[in-house]
């Protein structure tokens, strides 16, 4: 039997619904300003780069680097108590914005600067979280 998911879930609003739908479909969809191209994670109506009011979602690479991390030894959320201490990473996305996330498919926290790639983790019927694993060497043209 799978235990019920007990970690906090995101409160998905109209503004960021497209972001969460993107994760559901395995894509990181950030916002880019239609006027100046500034890329942002936050679903603000206004571009912090130029003050413009028009922007569009685009598919980001899903790649980034490990910028920093902290290991939580205090159970602020009961849902995380079972995996204490747990690590929250700061990932600097290739396109510029940073996100908080968790590292998967690695036992140790790799050194800061390590290249990471997105892993899409379904945690609830309509919620997929954006996690990261150390970048793997690829076959074919990327190798």
């Amino acid at each position: 039997m799978k235990t019920p998911y007990s970690k906090p879930l995101p409160v998905i609003g109209e503004r960021d619904r497209a972001y969460w739908e993107g994760l559901r479909e395995g894509e990181v969809r950030l916002l880019a300003c239609d006027d100046c191209g500034h890329v942002r994670y936050e679903s603000f109506s206004t571009c912090p780069g130029c003050g413009g009011g028009r922007s569009s979602r685009f598919k980001a690479s899903g790649r980034g680097t490990l910028w920093s991390w902290a290991r939580f030894h205090k159970a602020y959320f009961p849902g995380f108590a079972a995996e204490m201490p747990y690590v929250v990473a700061v990932v600097a996305l290739e396109e510029g914005p940073k996100v908080y996330s968790n590292l998967v498919e690695t036992d140790d926290v790799p050194p800061l600067g390590t290249p990471l790639e997105a892993v899409f983790e379904d945690v609830a019927p309509d919620v997929t979280l954006l996690k990261f694993r150390p970048m793997r060497p690829r076959n074919g043209t990327d190798a």
Binding site: A70, V88, Y100, L129
Partner: protein, 380 residues
């Protein structure tokens, strides 16, 4: 620009409550208690107040009602520590502009008794931007500072033992302060052995959480001369913000806004860093002290850890800092009590922890809103 305010205003009175667990007092009670002490300190009465700035007290109107005062200038600031400097600066601006003659700046914090947690579901750090990260387990200002320190360590080789020097130094200062909550000296080894909260930060890298209140009376340099105690002049002040990193740790440890203040504040105060007799550094977490020392140019960028470890912040050294014990050991009065300590040092009221001939002291706070104030025994 700030230069036109130089030396025109002064702190005429300061007041603090007891610190610790004070469950029978709410924020209003604590603020009023501190204000009574500040007025008594200044030799002024409630009826002299014509300006009121409150922070972390729920409502200015109710506070005014309770005090029975009708000031012409009133404002309220969010209950964030970064607002301590903002509040005092606004008081100085109100006085210098003629908007008010005697401004009471009042703070009351019953966070300990109210069970404030600074992490988990109620976390508002990042001004409401925090909640979206709860699904990843991210919460609390302490964790964000832990990440900043981790980054600093990666870039510059800064070590946890350097933070231990700060924690143990401020505790040593607190041991000389009868009002401090935590007075038992600690060693760097004690710091290293204290449990992790958000690793790499240990418990002893964190500020206290306790109840208390603080008030200051700001008036003109002229009027302050007629008050009960020797005026402590507001020589210069500055403010700069950095909002671009949002709920994320900033790339530059808030260095850019601090440098913008440093670019004018020493000239405004007509002094150099070397003229300063003590520093009051906002110490919500030990790494903030390092970021502040770099931002205001007391040491080269990246060198703050080893520099602090040389002992410069200790009483008797070049830049005795947080002589009261600060947030880490005296009381979690979010910058407010550090400003009071600056005033008391310049008046020579600090007993065993007194800095000899303290004539110039700088307060500084590193956060998305950076502030700094230089206090002096003379107006210029």
């Amino acid at each position: 620009m700030a230069r036109r305010f130089t030396g025109r205003t002064a702190v005429a009175g300061v007041g603090t409550t007891a610190y610790g667990r004070l469950p029978e007092y709410d924020q209003y009670d604590l603020g009023a208690w501190a204000l009574r002490n500040a007025l008594d300190d200044a030799g002024l009465a409630l009826s002299d107040i014509d300006g009121l700035i409150v922070s972390r007290i729920g409502d200015y109107q109710r506070f005014g009602e309770m005090l029975g005062i009708d000031p012409r200038f009133v404002t309220i600031l969010p209950g964030q520590g970064r607002m301590a400097g903002v509040a005092i600066e606004q008081a100085a601006m109100a006085v210098a502009s003629g908007m008010a003659d005697v401004v009471a700046v009042v703070y009351g914090n019953n966070g300990r008794s109210a069970g404030d947690r600074y992490g988990g579901e109620g976390d508002q750090y990042g001004s409401g931007g925090a909640g979206q990260w709860f699904p990843y387990g991210m919460t609390s200002p302490g964790a964000m500072h832990a990440m900043m320190f981790n980054r600093h360590a990666h870039l510059y080789g800064t070590r946890s033992e350097h933070l231990g020097e700060i924690a143990s130094t401020f505790r040593r200062h607190a041991s000389l302060n009868p009002d401090a909550v935590m007075r038992t000296p600690i060693t760097i080894e004690d710091h290293q052995n204290s449990r992790f909260v958000a690793e790499p930060l240990h418990l002893l890298d964190y500020c206290l959480i306790n109840d208390g209140g603080v008030a200051l009376i700001v008036t003109s340099a002229e009027r302050a001369k007629d008050c009960r105690k020797k005026p402590v002049h507001i020589r210069a002040f500055g403010q700069a913000s950095s909002f671009g990193s949002g709920s994320m740790p900033p790339d530059d440890f808030w260095r850019a806004p601090m440098q913008r203040i440093a670019d004018h504040i020493y000239a405004d105060a007509d002094c150099t860093r070397d003229d300063l007799d003590a520093l009051m550094i906002y110490d919500n977490f030990t790494p903030t002290v390092l970021f502040s020392l770099e931002g205001f140019g007391f040491c080269p960028v990246g060198a703050s850890g080893p520099w602090a470890a040389e002992g410069h912040l200790r009483l008797g050294s070049k830049f005795p800092s947080n002589t009261s014990g600060g947030h880490l050991s005296e009381s979690y009065m979010q910058g407010w009590a550090l400003n009071v300590e600056a005033v008391r040092q310049i008046r020579g009221e600090c007993g065993e922890r007194q800095v000899n001939d303290a004539g110039l002291i700088q307060y500084m706070a590193a956060s998305p809103v950076c502030t700094s104030i230089i206090y002096g025994a003379s107006p210029r």
